[in-house]
Symmetry: C2
Subunit: 353 residues, 2 copies
């Protein structure tokens, strides 16, 4: 388990820090039965495949790259089969403040499951969650957080878990934005995904978030098929009883698809290095280095959260989406850094006029 | 590791039994520098997408199914995104006699690596391999076999391993057929893969064989992209030294993608149940049951090795590709069984006139 322990610790420790902001901002999620349909992207003007990107060097760099590597007469031409584009999810394709949205899911699950677990009233870390008692929850540490994840993500079949996620994502709302979480995807990134696919790139999500938390809705929201959604995972086991096969989710870590785990996940699921990768934090640095090692000309994109009005502004010192070491390396190596404030006309699809 | 131990034992024990036939039939592989290009399939007549299948109930069942589920006016219509087709490799897409071809690779690797491992001359199980000493090799048991696999498949980077496999597959020859291994794929199955893709099915390999043993050549041979090739795997670890990222292959089992491991692999890599699955042995039974559990109408295909003249004839008692319990279940449940002798006009692409 050597490969997993380090990223897992980093991941969980990071979460413990940010959990501090969690319960204070938690509000009751409202039930909404008529799910809004989120378009994969707004119609694209023929003249401009990236209409929500301001004209400037970032947009130009992206389009110059795509035009160069898809031009058969270019020395930098990349065959279609090698046009692999990988994107982080939290903070790159959708927001991640005040905490990774999957943690609102976990907290909501503890509360929803509490009736079937009367013992949780007196058992940590669940007691603290149920009582919104942050100081006590913090004292449970990494072990307590892992207990919450496993209690809310394991123990059910894969089919059951998918139904639970679908129900939650259709009804839950972001505590500050008062919108469904899937409304909080970035319009410019939806356009970028589409633009790459129009140019025969295969788009993948490579996220620290749970693979089976993302797959139930990523297809519709991002236009990325389930088998191209890569994330952290727990182990599973196949059972066959009374002629019925099921796969159960076990309370054991499989892959932590963050930091060093991202190239490992890319190798496992894709089997070739990306030529285009997008991220927003230090957790994506290894993926971008892996992309940079491609023999084909590659494009490394960092989304910088610079917009305190329309989204959130944070980087080096933020416990969620820490962008520090990677910000230095991106600058040193001349990777592209998109400023949300300066490069994006709108942030969310619902802002498009 | 509970989920992996059982399939691993079954897999290795099966291999130990068949290893008996290995060294007796081994011949020196010849070097061939000009790799032949293997067409994904012969051109398909507009009137008949499966020209190498004899007209009969098997071919009709396949085509009736595809026509029904792709007809938007049918009650059995399946949306494109759910058209997942999974195929075993050994014995389903290419031959597997006298032993899984990957084992010829492992044996060849032991011999190729022997110069760098002078200690192997006096160390089992390598000594037995180098001396073609079958009785002694058999006595090394499961542990010895695992040692051979790990010594030949781990310890190098993923890039290095890919180059080794590419070199071997381009030069090695089957000991009896005297052909490159990639010539020994089944022409009717190439046509079936193409036919499904023409009807917007996404085709996957789900094999007990090594994922990184298949990916270097499956794309060209089967027209299946690397990220749709699923197989058994070992763990990997990411390293970053002197500004260069590499992924190393570790001597630790990750997934044994056989029997109970096949639905687990399908869930991990694809995230939805197949609607079409093809196999040839008891090792595929769990995959076909998983497919049969799909809410959409599904198609379960077994390839039965009935042709002792053109290929090999074996089923219930064969240690490679044992087709016993699954043969009974396929008959009971009315799954489709293709007889190589009766249903296939030709076996290999080079036989097509």
């Amino acid at each position: 388990m050597k490969i997993e322990i380090k990223p897992l610790k980093v991941y969980l420790l990071g979460l413990m820090v940010v959990l501090g902001t969690l319960l204070s901002c938690q509000t009751k999620t409202e039930t909404k039965t008529d799910t809004e349909t989120i378009p994969v992207s707004k119609p694209i003007a023929a003249a401009d495949p990236l209409p929500s990107w301001n004209n400037g060097k970032t947009k130009k760099a992206i389009m110059d790259y795509v035009e160069e590597v898809t031009n058969e007469n270019s020395e930098r031409f990349i065959p279609k089969v090698d046009r692999i584009a990988t994107f982080d999810n939290d903070g790159t394709l959708w927001s991640e403040k005040p905490i990774y949205f999957q943690f609102f899911f976990a907290i909501d699950r503890v509360k929803a499951m509490a009736a079937d677990h009367p013992e949780w009233k007196n058992k940590q870390p669940f007691k603290a969650v149920l009582e919104n008692d942050m100081p006590t929850l913090m004292k449970q540490g990494e072990k307590g957080l892992l207990e919450i994840i496993m209690a809310t993500h394991a123990g059910v079949s894969t089919d059951e878990f998918e139904a639970i996620v679908k129900d939650w994502i259709a009804t839950a709302q972001h505590p500050e934005k008062k919108k469904p979480y899937t409304d909080l995807v970035y319009q410019p990134m939806l356009e970028l995904l589409n633009y790459l696919r129009m140019n025969d790139f295969k788009t993948f999500i490579v996220s620290g978030g749970g693979i089976e938390f993302m797959r139930p809705w990523a297809e519709e929201v991002y236009g990325i098929p389930k088998n191209q959604v890569i994330g952290s995972s727990i182990q599973t086991q196949y059972f066959y009883n009374d002629g019925k096969p099921i796969i159960k989710r076990l309370a054991k870590i499989d892959l932590i698809d963050d930091k060093e785990g991202k190239p490992v996940g890319i190798n496992r699921y894709i089997g070739r290095k990306p030529v285009f990768a997008g991220g927003n934090s230090d957790g994506d640095l290894q993926m971008l280095r892996w992309t940079d090692a491609n023999e084909y000309k590659s494009f490394k994109l960092y989304v910088h959260h610079t917009d305190s009005i329309r989204e959130w502004s944070y980087d080096r010192k933020s416990p969620v989406g820490t962008f520090d070491k990677a910000l230095d390396e991106a600058n040193e190596k001349g990777w592209t850094i998109a400023s949300m404030k300066d490069d994006w006309k709108v942030i969310y699809p619902y802002e498009v006029k």
